[in-house]
Symmetry: C2
């Protein structure tokens, strides 16, 4: 929408939009957001880097400082940017803290959050199944990479998971390099793909014999299954992850409202 009615000159100034256009005109601040969002997608600025100041952006885009401010504040609310008074506005990074509080939701009975320690059990690349193509929005014949892990909390094997990504987006993933604990930071640093949102579906299931063995449980023990699709900055599904968790010592948490 905004993209269709907006053109960036070399200087990035907003043109091609009549501020007085009747009807379906997109607000200026939304156009500013769209421009900045596109620059983030293009890695025009890198994670952790400072954006130009509000005044500079306003001059560059030909709008007032207040309009830039609203756009930036909206994007802070989306966790895309971080503002620090007296210092500047920065591109969000997938830090340890962020991974833990935004994308890891199994906490101890005492409320403690700790990063798991993972062991890779299998890693392969092959043609995507119909379900994988459906979940990751891939074309027929596309290839995927899957990683299977066992993840331990406080030394206890607690989670078995399977991570699936498109091989086209993540070439060589799981090849020579050892996979780090924080995959989202890895995606951001190595492939320039930033995960911003995730949709989770949770069910109670029974442990298969293999899962039971890996987690030190009896076959049929209740496990919490978390089925997650992660979305990148441009709102495309880029990772499908299914985790099965022993929740006898940990609980999955969510806030509502």
């Amino acid at each position: 929408m905004a993209k269709a009615t907006t053109k960036k000159t070399a200087a990035g100034k907003i043109t091609g939009v009549s501020k007085r256009a009747p009807g379906a005109s997109v607000p200026l601040y939304a156009q500013v957001e769209e421009i900045i969002r596109q620059r983030l997608i293009d890695n025009y600025w890198n994670p952790g880097e400072a954006l130009p100041s509000e005044i500079q952006l306003a001059a560059e885009l030909g709008v007032s400082q207040g309009t830039v401010r609203k756009a930036l504040n909206d994007m802070v609310a989306e966790n895309l940017l971080v503002r620090r008074q007296g210092r500047g506005t920065f591109v969000s990074e997938h830090t340890e803290r962020r991974a833990l509080f935004l994308f890891f939701n199994l906490i101890g009975e005492d409320g403690s959050r700790t990063m798991p320690v993972s062991q890779v059990k299998a890693c392969e690349h092959r043609k995507a199944t119909a379900e994988e193509r459906d979940r990751l929005n891939l074309a027929k014949g596309a290839e995927v990479i899957t990683v299977q892990r066992v993840r331990s909390l406080r030394g206890e094997p607690t989670i078995v998971d399977r991570v699936t990504v498109s091989r086209a987006l993540f070439p060589d993933l799981g090849g020579d390099v050892k996979l780090p604990e924080n995959l989202y930071r890895f995606y951001q640093g190595e492939y320039g793909i930033t995960i911003t949102k995730a949709q989770e579906q949770v069910r109670a299931v029974s442990a298969t014999p293999e899962e039971a063995q890996l987690l030190g449980l009896e076959t049929g023990a209740p496990l919490l299954e978390i089925d997650r699709i992660s979305l990148s900055l441009d709102a495309r599904p880029v990772e499908w992850r299914v985790s099965r968790c022993n929740t006898s010592q940990h609980t999955y948490v969510a806030e509502r409202g």
Copy 2:
């Protein structure tokens, strides 16, 4: 905080605060928020009712329209208010839609959301247990009311739950009146208590014989347990609810990021 440094005159004007106070002065918009929040807690305006216009509020409180606007927008983001262009700003109501999208998170395999149909199995009042006092922040000797239900989706018994509230806050609850499906609207309409947030802890558990019988499952079948504390406008825990769900035909959903 703001309350300590703020006084409302008969007209509600903000006084007792020096805008120039060095150090820990609370921003004006935050003080405005606090005043409006307190009026909501006091039911000074009723759910669904329109607030005075921005201009009127600004005049009444002795601040600019822009400051009131920021305060109101913040509270819209918290789901406390709803703004409708050309009409006004309104106090949020616990409508069916809101209950369904904010506080009911079991959806069908096809993504459909439907309100359950509940059957009350038991309803009693008694002294709170230690755990109930802990979860609901009650004093020793306080009384609670508990309701046990079986809830059906598409005609299939899917959830058994137990709802616990303080008898002091909800006198006569479950007495003569039939309990409606949307309890939060009932709390708001009958007791003037508005639920704004909930914290949920989710686990996988095994069905007890009683639960299995009620849900038409075999003993030991995996169930999803949702343990929820609901908070009122003034951030106090007012309802403790434990639901155990058959997730073979439905899934619990959450968004992250």
